[in-house]
């Protein structure tokens, strides 16, 4: 049987090895030759032993939006933790929850996984089921017993997805996101960059066609 996955690029493998070495150094709390070398050996062995399917990175990292996403995320975790803590001790009992289907604009594995995980970290929402073929996540909202709460959970998921796509989404994802936002009546994000990338890709495609 033929493995249908593409081989990992050299840069990706190097990235994995570096990250594992950094974790090893952090665990041992010292940066000496012994630690780094043993970390490198262990990283290579692990990569060969557990060869995972490659994550398709988009090759794009927007530092401004990345920092904004991290700050937004930490602030939300802070606020929501105390909201849930208040829910546990207030005298009135908690309302029922609900399961909401949220359509995502992205079709990429990594982004759907990240949206799921960020939803799982922010108290008040939890992803229960993922429909990978249609890129739909089913989110369970805590204390969600009327329409506005439902819409709030949906909006939060959409916001998570928007910020993630702005930070590390591919241009294809940005286009899909802008289409979805146009449908819902919001202004598109990253317009100039998206347009530039699209123009660049169109030029590259035209050159490839002219050549071959």
């Amino acid at each position: 049987m033929v493995a249908r996955r593409r081989r990992q690029g050299f840069v990706e493998q190097l990235l994995y090895v570096l990250v594992l070495i950094v974790v090893w150094v952090f665990l041992w709390d010292e940066v000496s030759g012994m630690v780094v070398i043993s970390g490198a050996l262990l990283a290579f062995a692990l990569m060969r032993a557990f060869y995972l399917p490659p994550i398709q990175l988009s090759g794009r990292l927007n530092f401004y939006y990345g920092a904004y996403f991290l700050l937004w995320f930490m602030l939300n975790v802070l606020i929501a933790s105390f909201q849930v803590a208040w829910l546990t001790v207030r005298p009135r009992p908690v309302d029922a929850g609900s399961v909401i289907a949220v359509d995502l604009a992205t079709r990429s594995d990594l982004l759907i996984t990240l949206v799921t995980m960020v939803n799982g970290l922010i108290p008040g929402s939890l992803v229960i089921e993922i429909d990978r073929a249609r890129a739909v996540v089913f989110v369970h909202g805590l204390n969600c017993a009327d329409e506005e709460e439902l819409e709030r959970v949906r909006e939060k998921t959409h916001q998570i997805e928007t910020l993630l796509i702005c930070a590390i989404g591919s241009p294809h994802d940005i286009e899909a996101l802008n289409d979805a936002r146009a449908e819902r009546g919001l202004k598109p994000v990253l317009e100039k960059r998206a347009i530039r990338e699209r123009a660049r890709r169109a030029r590259a495609a035209k050159e490839a066609r002219a050549r071959g």
Partner: protein, 215 residues
């Protein structure tokens, strides 16, 4: 990670610091006791697993507090291992409980291919060869004879059982849906083993939660 470093927050002869440390310890103790209440009461195994996770996380925070109060660093590997146990336990229990895909056993694969039936003849009649379906059949005989008749004649038709096993690739309840972006092998056996759900026996948690409400 070698013992005492830094400034200890509390020393034995400092009354105020000791009181505060004991108060914080009492709060952690209360949290742990309440989590144990849920472990004992929880109607289903998943409730108990959630409470165990909360218990372990509380212990981790408590150990962190001890590390801060006595300025010692040899507790960090303990915290790491505790968090690993919590994670592996939660994932293991949830895989045990969810029982969507029974087709990982070879008996089911053979039944699928049409070799050998799903029933074996016994003195009392036909019994399903797989314990999970046998239990279902028993229950159906007790409560819903028409469904029992259907199950017997259809030769353990999996889809009439309450376990949602559907061959629809778009079916959401399967969970592992379609392979994505061409990075999975086309081998169905590998995919079945790599599937995140394994079978579990209904008898183990039949008494766990009342199958009440509307479902």
């Amino acid at each position: 990670m070698n013992g005492q470093q830094g400034i200890p927050l509390v020393s034995v002869d400092d009354g105020m610091g000791l009181t505060i440390a004991l108060a914080i310890g009492a709060v952690f103790l209360a949290a742990v006791v309440i989590a144990i209440v849920r472990i004992v009461r929880g109607p289903s195994i998943l409730d108990r697993m959630i409470a165990t996770d909360a218990f372990l996380a509380t212990i981790m925070c408590g150990l962190g507090g001890v590390a801060a109060f006595s300025a010692r660093t040899d507790l960090f590997p303990v915290m790491l291992v505790i968090s690993m146990f919590g994670f592996v336990g939660a994932v293991g229990v949830s895989r045990y409980v969810s029982r969507a895909d029974l087709r990982t056993t070879s008996r089911f694969r053979r039944m699928e291919r049409g070799q050998g039936s799903g029933t074996i003849g016994t003195a009392d009649g036909y019994e399903p060869s797989v314990p999970e379906l046998a239990i279902e059949l028993q229950e159906a005989r007790r409560m819903d004879p028409e469904r029992a008749a259907r199950m017997e004649t259809a030769g353990t038709d999996l889809d009439t059982s309450s376990m949602r096993v559907n061959a629809d690739p778009d079916d959401v309840s399967q969970g592992h849906a379609t392979p994505s972006e061409g990075n999975l092998d086309a081998d169905p056996a590998a995919e079945a083993i790599a599937d995140s759900d394994t079978q579990s026996s209904d008898a183990e948690h039949r008494d766990d939660e009342t199958r009440g409400g509307q479902s």
